[in-house]
Every structure is written in structure tokens, then in C-alpha cells.
């Protein structure tokens, strides 16, 4: 029996396909593209002065990231990472971001935008810096290049509709529109889970003794001049409660993959956690908060006008089941 037969017979292949490739429409993915790319462009896009300073004053790389080392091994580093080349790359990336946002040549645009982001952040981190805030977004942006994220709400879709002379293109169902969202959900579970596991492995249950969080809040509150962090660090019982909440949240976030009803609660808890950390310790994970959109099933909101017209006209154009409340994305398109 071949491994493929074994996978089919055991049902593992079916479960894998159900998890990653459920049939569904592309509107969710397209909306996530617009929201995440829009936020990356207009809220989180780095200024060029940061890059210019590194080129002019930063000196040689301290610890080149793998991506930078790979580029340097192929092309002359002094030319690729010169101010002129980086300025050109910076604006090409920005333009690619705009074309990804509006969905023009979406796959190519998304690839250029994601790769530009990867290179710029890897370049900056090659000077001894490392942060986690952009990592998941960067991976999500690259996944847009490999998926039909431009099939809806895009210039590509409009042009296709014009070519086919049929107004808007037909509402396609596909099995490849969900995996970028699912991948990001899995990466959220993986990163939160590994963070919680690392706390328990290195710090043990003692991590929840309250003093650990008090110390962290005081140190970062003073370092980043966050009065709220310094003030909250005084309350031992509160620190214990927040520590337990953090560990529970991080270690159980994977439940969102299998239990859609829990998703709204986890997202609200996540927003509260990241906002609290930002206000007290200045770690800004707002890109994570924006990326939470991959958990939301926008189809239900988008269907609302149709349901209204169906209620008036008596029939739904696509025969979707009528529900009144928006659901969280659970893999059912």
C-alpha cells in the first residue's frame, strides 16, 4: 500500500483537506487583503529616514539576517544596500503595496510588496535589532501572492469582468481561498503557544508568582516612561491575576482553531492583552490586532443586503442560509 493510499484510507488526507482547503468564496480573503495591506501601508510602513540613518551611520552589519546574507552572497552588498538602491526599492515596495491594496496584478504586487517588507525589516534587524511585531503580517502578505486574494474587490476582478463582458465576474467557489487565513490562525496559535510554553519551561509556575510581572512592568514602565506600568506594578494580587490570565490565554489560544464559538472571546482577550502591554510596557503589537481579521467571517456581513433583498423579493440569489449574526471564520466558506 502506498503512502497516499494509507493517507486516504486512514482519513488523514480528508481531515487535512477539510482543515486547510474547505470550499468557499474569495471575498473573505480579499477583504483581509485590503485591511491588512491598508494598515501595513498607512499605519505601519517605516519611514525612509530610519533606513537612511542605518546606511549612513550604522556601520557594517552586526548580525546579518539570513535573507540579507543570501542577497549579499549573490549580489555586491555595497551596491544593493546603498542609499540609492534602497531608496528605489523603498518606493517600488510602496507602489506594490498600493497596487496590492487595489488589487491590480495582485499576485505579483503582493509578492513584491511582501518581499520588499521582508528585505527592509531583515536589513534593519541585521544591525542588532530583533522584534516580533511584523513577523506574522510579513508571512501573511507573502501568502497573498500564492492565493486568489485578488479575485474579488480588485481592479483585476473588474478587468476580468469587462473582458468577459458580464459586468462583475461570477462568484467563484474555490478550495484555495482559505488556507492563507488558516495558516495565519495556526501561526497565531503557534506563536502564542510557544510563548506561553517558554514561560513555563524557563520560568516555571513561578512565572505566575506576581513578582515576575511586577518586576517586568516596573522595569519597562521606567525604561519607556510609562506611568501606568509603574503604578500598576505596585499591586501584587493584580499582577498574579494578570500573569495567570496571560499564561491561560497563550497556552489555550490553539482552541480557536477547533472551537469557533471561542474565537470572539479570545480576540477580545487578545486586544485587551496587547493594549495593556502597550500602555504599561510599550510593546506595540498592533499589527497582531489588525491581523486578527483572519478570524472574522465577513461573508455574513456581506450577505446582509442580499438577505434583505431576498426577504423582499422572496429568494436569495445564491441560496445561502440566513443567519442574523456574523460568525467567526471557521473554515466554512
Amino acid at each position: 500500500m502506498s503512502p497516499t493510499d494509507l493517507l486516504i484510507r486512514s482519513g488523514a488526507l480528508g481531515r487535512w483537506n477539510t482543515f486547510w482547503f474547505p470550499p468557499g468564496r474569495t471575498r473573505n480573503l480579499a477583504l483581509c487583503r485590503i485591511l491588512v495591506v491598508g494598515a501595513t501601508l498607512f499605519l505601519f510602513y517605516p519611514s525612509f529616514s530610519a533606513i537612511r540613518d542605518l546606511v549612513e551611520l550604522g556601520g557594517p552589519f552586526i548580525e546579518p539576517q539570513l535573507l540579507i546574507a543570501a542577497i549579499s552572497s549573490i549580489l555586491p552588498a555595497e551596491k544593493v544596500f546603498s542609499l540609492t538602491t534602497l531608496a528605489i526599492l523603498y518606493w517600488i515596495t510602496a507602489v506594490a503595496g498600493l497596487t496590492t491594496l487595489v488589487g491590480f496584478r495582485t499576485r505579483t504586487s503582493a509578492f513584491v510588496f511582501a518581499m520588499g517588507q521582508w528585505i527592509f525589516i531583515a536589513f534593519r534587524y541585521s544591525f542588532g535589532e530583533e522584534h516580533h511585531t511584523q513577523a506574522l503580517t510579513a508571512i501573511f502578505l507573502m501568502s497573498l501572492a500564492l492565493s486568489p486574494s485578488g479575485d474579488r474587490f480588485s481592479i483585476d476582478a473588474w478587468l476580468k469582468g469587462r473582458r468577459e463582458d458580464a459586468g462583475s465576474p461570477p462568484e467563484l467557489t474555490t478550495t484555495t481561498a482559505f488556507w492563507p487565513l488558516r495558516l495565519t490562525q495556526v501561526l497565531f496559535a503557534l506563536t502564542y503557544g510557544s510563548n506561553g510554553a517558554a514561560k513555563l519551561m524557563y520560568g516555571g509556575l513561578r512565572w505566575m508568582n506576581g513578582v515576575t510581572l511586577q518586576q517586568a512592568m516596573l522595569a519597562d514602565g521606567l525604561r519607556f516612561e510609562r506611568p501606568l506600568g509603574v503604578w500598576l506594578a505596585q499591586f501584587h494580587t493584580l499582577a498574579i491575576v494578570l500573569s495567570v490570565f496571560t499564561i491561560l490565554f497563550e497556552c489555550s489560544f490553539f482552541l480557536t482553531l477547533f472551537w469557533p464559538r471561542a474565537v470572539p472571546w479570545y480576540l477580545m482577550a487578545g486586544v485587551a492583552l496587547h493594549t495593556g502591554i502597550y500602555l504599561t510596557m510599550r510593546a506595540d503589537f498592533f499589527q497582531h490586532v489588525i491581523l486578527y481579521v483572519v478570524f472574522i467571517d465577513f461573508e455574513k456581513w456581506l450577505d446582509r443586503p442580499s438577505r434583505a433583498s431576498a426577504a423582499i423579493g422572496g429568494a436569495h440569489p445564491r441560496g445561502h442560509p440566513t443567519k442574523t449574526r456574523p460568525r467567526m471564520a471557521s473554515g466554512r466558506g
Partner: protein, 184 residues
């Protein structure tokens, strides 16, 4: 007859995507192995996520310092070198114009490097004092003096110690560490 509204990709597409997905998930093990091997992670955007993982014993006092690093020039001008720590990253969440204009503070431009590198190579050794502190101060002054007509000749590291007590914080000013820097 196939449904015209359903796009069914070939099994090869599913296999290809599956390999990408598994590859991305597995790549997250690389920086963890790198850290376990004692190296800093260089696999961005695949990262180890164990932040704030160390614990503090319950009987240890809750205590931290507020640091200020001040550079003094030949004309007596004082430069606040801690601004990068306070102002954070180079983008401002909430600013829709961040794509068009730089948001770095002047101190960033003075130093070029970003906060983690500053902390690692200059701030930490200077706070510890001794020869390593002096070497770091000289290096920092060199960095700040790039293109300056009024060079930095002294770096002062001031600190205030905050200790949590049952009645609130006990705040104590610490004697500053002063480094005279070589003009280069």
C-alpha cells in the same frame, strides 16, 4: 457536468500549498534551535517567540532603575540620548501619513543605530562602568560626533533607583557615572 461557479484546483496545487504550509510552520523551529545553540536568531520572519520568559523569585525585591544618558558637547550643550527608548520605533501607529514623512526623533538621527543595538553595545556596558563602560562611551561619542561641528566630550549616565515597599516606592538618586570621551 462541472459546476461553472466552482473552481477546482488540481491535486498538485493542494500538494504544493501543503508543502508551503508545512515548511512555514517547521521553519519556526530554526530560530529556536539557533537560540538553544547560544546564537541570536537570524531567520526573520521566522522567529522564536519566548519573550519575557524568565521568572523572578518571590522573595526578591521589586526594583528597577530609571536611566538617563546625557551627552555634553564642547559648548556645553546637553543632548538627550535616551529618546529612542522613550519614543520607540520609527513608525507612529495611527499616523496615516507615516508613508510620506519620517517620524524618527532627532536622537535617532544622531545615533543611527536602533534601540536594541544601542542597549547592547553602548548603554549596558556604560551602566556597568569600568573599562568596558569607558570603551563604550568612546564608541558612542564617535557615533554621535559623525558630522557634528560641536563634538561630544562627556557622557553622563544618571539613574534613579525605584524600590517597591509596602507604602509605595522608595526613590533614590544614584551617583552619576561620568565618562570623559576622547575627541575623534
Amino acid at each position: 457536468m462541472p459546476d461553472p461557479t466552482t473552481h477546482t484546483p488540481s491535486p498538485r496545487t493542494h500538494i504544493g500549498i501543503s508543502l508551503v504550509v508545512v515548511g512555514i510552520v517547521l521553519l519556526h523551529a530554526a530560530p529556536i534551535l539557533q537560540e538553544l545553540d547560544g546564537h541570536r536568531q537570524t531567520f526573520w520572519p521566522f522567529m522564536a517567540w519566548g519573550m519575557y520568559r524568565q521568572s523572578v523569585p518571590s522573595d526578591q525585591p521589586v526594583q528597577a532603575r530609571h536611566w538617563r544618558t546625557v551627552a555634553v558637547t564642547t559648548h556645553g550643550q546637553e543632548l538627550d540620548l535616551d529618546a529612542p527608548f522613550r519614543h520607540g520605533d520609527d513608525y507612529v501607529p495611527g499616523s496615516p501619513l507615516s508613508i510620506l514623512r519620517g517620524t524618527w526623533t532627532p536622537s535617532h538621527s544622531l545615533l543611527g543605530l536602533r534601540e536594541a543595538a544601542l542597549l547592547r553595545f553602548y548603554w549596558t556596558p556604560m551602566r556597568l562602568g569600568g573599562d568596558e563602560g569607558q570603551t563604550a562611551a568612546n564608541g558612542l561619542a564617535r557615533q554621535v560626533n559623525v558630522g557634528r561641528t560641536d563634538p561630544v566630550v562627556e557622557i553622563r549616565v544618571e539613574s534613579t533607583l525605584f524600590t517597591l515597599t509596602p507604602g509605595g516606592y522608595d526613590v533614590t538618586e544614584q551617583p552619576p557615572l561620568v565618562y570623559r570621551t576622547s575627541q575623534q
